[in-house]
Symmetry: C2
Subunit: 352 residues, 2 copies
Amino acid sequence: MPSYMREGSTMKANPVVAVCGATGAVGQEFLKVLHDVDFPASQVRALASARSAGKQVEFEGCGQVPAGPITIEEMTPESFQGVDIALFSAGSDVSKELRQAVVDAGAVMIDNSSAFRMDDDVPLVVPEVNPEDVEWHKGVIANPNCSTIEMVVALAPLAKISPIKRVVVSTYQAASGAGYPAMIELLEQTRAYLADEEMVAEKFAHPLAFNCIPRIDVMMEDGSTKEEWKMVAETQKIMHAPNLGVNATCIRVPSIRCHGESVNVEFESPVGVNQASMALAFAPSVEVMDDPEQNVYPMPAMLTGKDYVYVGRLREDSSNPNALSFWLVMDQIRKGAALNAVQIAQLLLPKE
Amino acid sequence: MPSYMREGSTMKANPVVAVCGATGAVGQEFLKVLHDVDFPASQVRALASARSAGKQVEFEGCGQVPAGPITIEEMTPESFQGVDIALFSAGSDVSKELRQAVVDAGAVMIDNSSAFRMDDDVPLVVPEVNPEDVEWHKGVIANPNCSTIEMVVALAPLAKISPIKRVVVSTYQAASGAGYPAMIELLEQTRAYLADEEMVAEKFAHPLAFNCIPRIDVMMEDGSTKEEWKMVAETQKIMHAPNLGVNATCIRVPSIRCHGESVNVEFESPVGVNQASMALAFAPSVEVMDDPEQNVYPMPAMLTGKDYVYVGRLREDSSNPNALSFWLVMDQIRKGAALNAVQIAQLLLPKE
């Protein structure tokens, strides 16, 4: 993992890390990932709303922090004194409200919300794709949308073979993208369906059990959803490719926490399947699982808790000699959110 | 509904109809649809394997046939004497085995299997798209694959605005595509998952509950699946467009009997959203459900038993000025199989 230093300031080798939104699905995963990568923290603090303050969250330890429960503190503008890295996943409103307090405290906010992703003064970073962008941060680094991360991790190694002209992607997004209560809602709806009881839909506009819902996030003026717009705008920003064409259709499906993506990529010139497969096999955070004859391909239900973007069904496109199609699966909470954010934090660590 | 007469022979106004494979999901639906369209049959016979012979199937009546149970007969080469129309859904092997017997008996086989679809002497018909092709049948008319029917019903009215150059489609296919036992398997796997028991997968290569399986049917040499190949070859044949580019990715999702499709269409020239929406609204067997701001769009769980192809999320494609994207849902057993076949039979009826 490369490391980068913020110009004019130096991240401590053993920073104090605050997990902001510690009770949510991503917040819980931040704590797991900090342990899994053994992040060299000197302290890990857990912040959440007043409602959760005083409760404890389990933590398995990392760096200089021993394993043991952490008592949740109420997250206020005063929370960030002494914090070096604040991992945020508490929604856009909370991120906007606390941004200045984090920056004033001299901490770096790594924000999982969509609040600042398209701001000109905020880098939007996928460490495998544009790690160098952390260098110009001004106190805030944005973590991209999960569906975008999944796609660009696979596109970046392919774009090195031939520039990408256009991507047509359709997603198969799990309940987890709408948070932990949405995962519970899917399971509860499914139970109700099997028991012939009425299904309750609160987190989704319609019951998701045994269904597909073709709208994620709010509608934009051009008829796309904001989720679809994110896959266009964020991909262009991360890949430094403002003219890259992306057409996204984002569909919620009844899987629990891994997103699938059906991707068609048109290159400037023909790219062979073997060449693409090799590039993906050697790319960071990508694993090729591609032996469909033997029923080997990535599947959401089998990749929960995994750290990579998994690629299968790679093949030529008979409708365009410059195009390839493939299928991706990624744990939406892990590489799609918490892991990517912690990897951004790793980029900030001083070179050893 | 237009009607067509077979050259050199005339279908009776009140034909004898044999439902072949009467105990399967599509066979059962044949009987429902014959009733629903009040097909003017003089007799309806139910044929199935020896195992089911002697059992009874419910029938609500149609034409000159009163409501009441029908006793299943064993399907043999001798079964077709006196039959005028044989609706087949008993798998490719059975269709191949019995084709000659059906033709020798002077009946028309309308076959739901993939056995003859690409044969040069067999029309492949979607009544809304290429009804005229029934005229040159030689005793066998093929019913297309469900995913193909869904797509071409929506493509045909759009192709009248501007010729279609290329289609990129990703499917969200329900368990029903693999038959009635597969639907039961999905429900049983789901129950087992919720009860923390082991899931059994026999109809699918992997458990489908809370999962997506990116392979349907056998693998072809070019890395596509046969299901994907069907969407290419069948679409070209039905639309009489041998050079139409189609890139299909076919994914099984845990819905029960309606298929979703995310479709991107590139035309020869720009087509406006309003123009396309109007063409679809007036197209036969299409219903536009497109008010996503109000959460109105087609969804698999809400369209079971419906007869149309439902279109929503119609929008421009910022990556290509000549392209549009939209989302389709269709009941796979109904318009995707049984209804389309009965509509082909309706085309054969003599003009009144």
